[in-house]
Point group: C2
Chain length 203, copies 2
């Protein structure tokens, strides 16, 4: 088994943090996104969608999509549970994981890819107006997230979960996108400091 | 229990098709998207993100996000399995569900929302250049999907799954977005005819 990794990009980081929380070690093979190695034929043979991460199983099966990879490890190593326990809790975790992904990670990614000069070769064409259109949506979602974290220690409730991992990687990805969490959103700040202090955040 | 539904929109349809495949009946409450009822205070109290569908459990818990709702029912009613069986198969189903969602459903939605005159009040501002930027990406993914369906009866392999439901709703959503599957992609055409003929497709 090996994991095709992509350094600082948020999706590969989600999987590394998840594995660190599980205490699982998987051999990594770096794909140099800066050199567009994910678009080269060697990697396109691994993932025709030319994105990292990708997990190669011992039988040669390739699993792509960060959350699919994480859930695979959750099924093999259920402890500690990071996708919830029981139907209702699991649904709440998945709901929040997806809310954070769809309304924070992806919009932040749209801003980054459509406005950062370093992305000009990767995002063709860049659409600056689309970057701008996402900014108020990010602000709206941060308000919803702050309200959730007012009453909950973690994004999906009392237990640290994959929703926190997506949240951590999303908030940290705001920096290269030249975005930041407003200072008045104290509950996000409290939560971000707490999840950033976990050893897994260094993965 | 009741399901807040949204008529012809692709996400509510995903859940209805899923429930039909499971043979589960849930009372529906219509949210009139055409009248922006999902943005009114009554529905914002159900889902602060102002999107359908949403599932209200008997204890008042609200589950949003189509796939979180589907997985909740999968856990309550495992047969027939629509999220795969066992870690590897489940990972492959989740991978393909997400691939179709991220690289077809969402880009088609971006085209629709940023180019269709009927969406001018809902997508503010519309960014026509972003609609255009998504079109070649949709074409690229359709090629990948056609290759997958050359060797597989269904999107994620031999068994009909939630990946087919997302695929069906995505391809059918291409029509209002004024997009179509190119005629040379015969494997997608074969698969689409097959999944459209299932009774669940009428849900």
């Amino acid at each position: 088994m090996k994991l095709y990794d992509g350094g600082r990009a948020p999706n590969p980081r989600r999987v590394r943090v998840f594995l660190a929380e599980k205490g699982i070690s998987v051999p990594l093979e770096q794909v140099d996104l800066g050199k567009l190695a994910h678009k080269a034929p060697a990697y396109a043979a691994v993932n025709p969608l030319q994105r990292v991460p990708a997990l190669e199983l011992d039988d040669g099966t390739i699993i792509t999509e960060s959350i699919a990879i994480c859930r695979y490890f959750e099924m093999l190593h259920p402890e500690p549970p990071l996708f919830g326990v029981g139907p209702k809790d699991a649904a709440i975790v998945e709901m929040w994981q997806r809310r954070v992904e769809l309304h924070l990670l992806f919009p932040v990614s749209h801003v980054f890819r459509n406005s950062h000069p370093a992305m000009a070769a990767m995002e063709v064409p860049q659409v600056p107006a689309w970057a701008e259109a996402n900014k108020p949506r990010i602000a709206e979602f941060l308000d919803v997230l702050d309200t959730q974290l007012k009453d909950n220690r973690y994004v999906a409730g009392d237990r640290y979960s994959v929703a926190d991992i997506t949240g951590l990687c999303s908030v940290d990805f705001m920096k290269p996108a030249k975005l930041s969490v407003p200072d008045n959103l104290a509950h996000i700040k409290r939560w971000h400091a707490e999840v950033s202090a976990r050893p897994s955040a260094q993965a």
